[in-house]
């Protein structure tokens, strides 16, 4: 669902499930922190509901991250790939690839 009234609904992808797993937060605990029903967290993670700005900022506060780290128009890649994907490892002989 989107608060936008007309026109094409643009997707809002999020990384809530990954961030929650990384911090070992249950849905119930995250829901308590942002004052919603646990099933609403499930709806956000599945993309069934796009959050209001207020709710998005609350979620970002819990994770201590900026909005663009949690929500984006394009699909997120794996977090580990984003962190380490561009670095190259030296081969066995020590020569850089």
């Amino acid at each position: 669902m989107s608060p936008v009234r007309r026109g094409e609904t643009l997707p809002i992808h999020n990384r809530i499930a990954v961030l929650r797993a990384e911090r070992r937060l249950s849905r119930a605990h995250l829901a308590e922190a942002i004052d919603v029903n646990p099933q609403t967290v499930g709806a956000l993670e599945r993309g069934d509901h796009y959050p209001s700005l207020d709710l998005a900022l609350r979620i970002c506060d819990v994770f201590g991250l900026p909005v663009e780290a949690v929500f984006a128009r394009t699909e997120f890649g794996p977090l580990s790939t984003e962190m380490y994907g561009r670095t190259t490892r030296p081969n066995a002989g020590g020569d850089p690839q």
Partner: protein, 182 residues
Amino acid sequence: MTHPDTTSLIGRYQAYRTRRFLANERKWAQQLPSWRTRDRKRKLVVGLAATFVFMFAVGVVCNFGIWWGPLLWLPACALFFPLLIAVRIVSGRQDDAPEATLDEWEIAQRNSARSIGLAVTQSLVTVAAMYLIFGAVITDNKNGDLVYAGGIFVLTALLIGSCTPAMILAWTRPDLEPDDES
């Protein structure tokens, strides 16, 4: 969750409604625990829908002037009230909950279900009203059974429309996952 203005009359009434709803919710939250799965909630919704079909059938029987027809409304009510109460308990009465007790996803779902309920009410009551109007013209206002049956059709249409939001919410709400429970 939204927080109502408590300075105006409407705001104070909403605050009172919210307090009353939360007190009732604490009372009903533990009721019918085995009926809170999606599968069983859907069974209750199907039961309620079957009751509406029965109510419509009572109207049809009354239309033909069968003397015991109106008595069938009693078993219909005996089915309707327990089923409606059960559906509303297991769906957390979200169709009727004050906004301050719901979060934004629940409000969006509730509004969507209410919108469908309003459309259903308008459509069915219009059909029942047309039946009464055209029936009165065709029978030259001389068929009391038709009027009685029309009244039952209108009442059934209103009950269907008013129960539709609760039925939709009970039908669509997913089961709690283990991660959802603290």
